[in-house]
């Protein structure tokens, strides 16, 4: 065990390890972005890439590491670099200390994802990028290639500096935070607190992203009642979204259905639902 702890301590200041993980993060982001898990896949990919350095020779632990992150995760990819760094740091710490639980890492990941998405989208997509684009258009409007080249170069350099700094900072503070937690006597109080935060934020993000509606309209002679707006929304907003979520939760937890099976069942449900106007 001591040998393992020494190795993991060395990993905490290993620049090659952090660089390898950074490039894994960089290449994994465009690989596979789906509505089901969004950036969740890239988190798994990054961890899969460095798994054998965190848990050398231990395939079962590597599997568990990756499996833990096969969940929904979305943020702005640039500012989000700090989350990837923090997760990496905490996973390295978790490798030699059980105090850091997977639930804690997931909660912190989700709690940070929302605000960084909002901040990142406002800062990078809505501010920095339009400014660079305006400059570029000014340069290229008569047909010159300069504007386009400037746009590519300026954006890539700014993005690179931002992401690399954030990733490394995230890693450093992920480790510091995890070590502080491990050595303190506040663990039993901090962990439930973080979990509550994470779960609350997830509830909010889900409600923002999903909106399952019904198109059913009940007609009685002259009058018609729109089931969605007149009945369901008045009762509880987005209640259908909640119902779908609880059904899926039950299928995953009790019936142990795989994600693929649920998705394949959703296809006929969507088709028949739409054709019968039960789903809109």
């Amino acid at each position: 065990m001591t040998q393992n702890t020494e190795r993991l301590q060395a990993l905490k200041s290993d620049k090659k390890f952090v660089n390898k993980a950074f490039w894994a993060y960089n290449w994994s982001i465009p690989m596979n972005f789906t509505r089901e898990r969004m950036l969740g896949c890239s988190m798994v990919s990054m961890l899969a890439r460095v798994a054998d350095e965190i848990y050398p020779e231990d395939v079962e632990k590597q599997k568990e590491l990756c499996r833990n992150h096969e969940v929904f995760f979305n943020t702005q990819q640039g500012l989000g670099a700090v989350i990837y760094g923090i997760v990496l740091g905490m996973e390295v710490e978790r490798a030699h200390d059980d105090t850091i639980t997977n639930e804690l890492i997931q909660s912190i990941k989700q709690a940070l994802a929302g605000p960084l998405a909002g901040l990142g989208d406002s800062l990078i997509q809505a501010l920095i990028t339009p400014i660079l684009i305006s400059i570029a258009i000014g340069l290229s409007t008569e047909g010159s290639i300069l504007g386009a080249l400037f746009l590519f170069a300026a954006y890539t350099v700014i993005n690179a500096i931002l992401c690399l700094t954030l990733f490394k900072t995230g890693y450093k503070y992920g480790i510091i935070g995890a070590e502080t937690l491990v050595s303190s006597n506040m663990k039993e109080r901090v962990i439930p607190a973080f979990e509550a935060l994470g779960i609350t934020v997830i509830g909010g993000v889900l409600a923002g992203i999903m909106n399952v509606k019904t198109g059913l309209v009940a007609s009685f002679g002259q009058t018609s009642i729109n089931i969605q707006t007149d009945v369901l929304d008045a009762f509880f907003p987005k209640i259908l979204t909640l119902v779908i979520c609880f059904i899926v939760y039950y299928l995953v937890k009790e019936k142990k259905w795989s994600a693929t099976k649920i998705m394949l069942w959703m296809i006929p449900v969507a088709i028949i639902g739409y054709m019968t106007t039960i789903l809109a």
């Binding site: 490039w23 993060y25 290449w27 465009p30 690989m31 789906t34 509505r35 089901e36 898990r37 969004m38 969740g40 798994v44 990919s45 899969a48 054998d52 395939v59 599997k63 499996r67 096969e70 990819q77 639930e103 997931q106 909660s107 929302g114 909002g118 989208d121 990078i124 997509q125 339009p130 684009i133 570029a136 258009i137 290229s140 504007g147 386009a148 993005n159 506040m186 039993e188 973080f194 935060l197 779960i199 609350t200 997830i202 509830g203 909010g204 409600a207 999903m210 909106n211 979204t241 909640l242 899926v248 939760y249 795989s258 994600a259 693929t260 998705m263 959703m266 969507a270 088709i271 739409y274």
Partner: protein
């Protein structure tokens, strides 16, 4: 002047490379490569008409300056693939930006369907990554999801060269032949998908049924009150801090018990 076969193939190839988001520098260049001006830069190089490509590109880019991707959903109609046949056709016919945009936007409905099918394909590869991890093939699992771009490859390498060589008349007849329900059904299906990712996450996090109340709280703040994510996070922090404050410190409680015994 016509688009040559070589140019059509190069256009298809670069459309694919750029559309994956992985060319040339992965995430570092991903967002900027998706901007119309950069598409026009490469198209201009292939067509050998950089000046007009840039002039038209600037007009289109100005129209698309507000294009953002929020939660993976674009705010303006996506013309990323359509530009790769719309601009070349406009360059050879000597048209202007308006003509280019018209051709590109006409394709937007088809683009939607392509994107949804692409999402399905990618989800398949995503689940295959899970399976690889279960088998212990961790090294392969790292890069495997990239293979999901096979749909991007097929659609770019087929659509772009074919439309470039066929011309704008063919494009409009194909677009008008599509039944309107397909778009709606694919939207409904896509709207259900996030439930899977989220609920798998909840299975990990929830170990007591009472924790669902936090989920419902966040849900209500967003659904009933319309709060944004940052505000919900702030309230979540308040709850977290209260829990932290009111959870008894077990070590101090144990020390207190020991003192009482004296």
């Amino acid at each position: 002047m016509q688009i040559t076969i070589l140019q059509a193939i190069l256009l298809g190839l670069f459309c694919f490379l750029v559309s994956t988001g992985m060319f040339p520098l992965g995430w570092l260049s991903m967002n900027i490569m998706s901007k119309p001006l950069i598409h026009c830069l490469i198209i201009g190089m292939i067509m050998g008409d950089m000046k007009n490509a840039m002039i038209i590109g600037c007009v289109i880019q100005a129209a698309y300056i507000g294009q953002m991707s929020i939660g993976g959903v674009a705010t303006l109609p996506k013309i990323n693939i359509a530009l790769w046949f719309a601009l070349p056709l406009t360059l050879v016919s000597g048209g202007d930006a308006a003509e280019c945009l018209t051709i590109a936007l006409a394709f937007a409905a088809v683009q939607n369907i392509l994107d949804t099918v692409g999402n399905l394909v990618k989800v398949g590869f995503l689940h295959r990554q899970d399976a690889l991890i279960e088998k212990g093939k961790i090294k392969q699992a790292w890069w495997f999801p990239a293979a999901g771009h096979i749909w991007t490859m097929v659609s770019c390498l087929v659509i772009v060269p074919v439309f470039c060589l066929a011309g704008s008349a063919v494009i409009s007849s194909i677009v008008s032949a599509l039944p309107p329900q397909i778009n709606a059904i694919t939207s409904t299906f896509t709207g259900l998908l996030p439930a899977i990712g989220f609920m798998i996450l909840m299975v990990t996090l929830i170990h007591s049924p009472f924790q669902w109340i936090y989920f419902l709280f966040g849900f209500v703040l967003a659904a009933a009150l319309g709060w944004d994510t940052i505000s919900i996070t702030v309230v979540g922090c308040v709850i977290a801090y209260l829990i932290f404050q009111f959870t008894p410190d077990k070590k101090m409680a144990a020390a207190g018990v020991e003192e009482d015994d004296d």
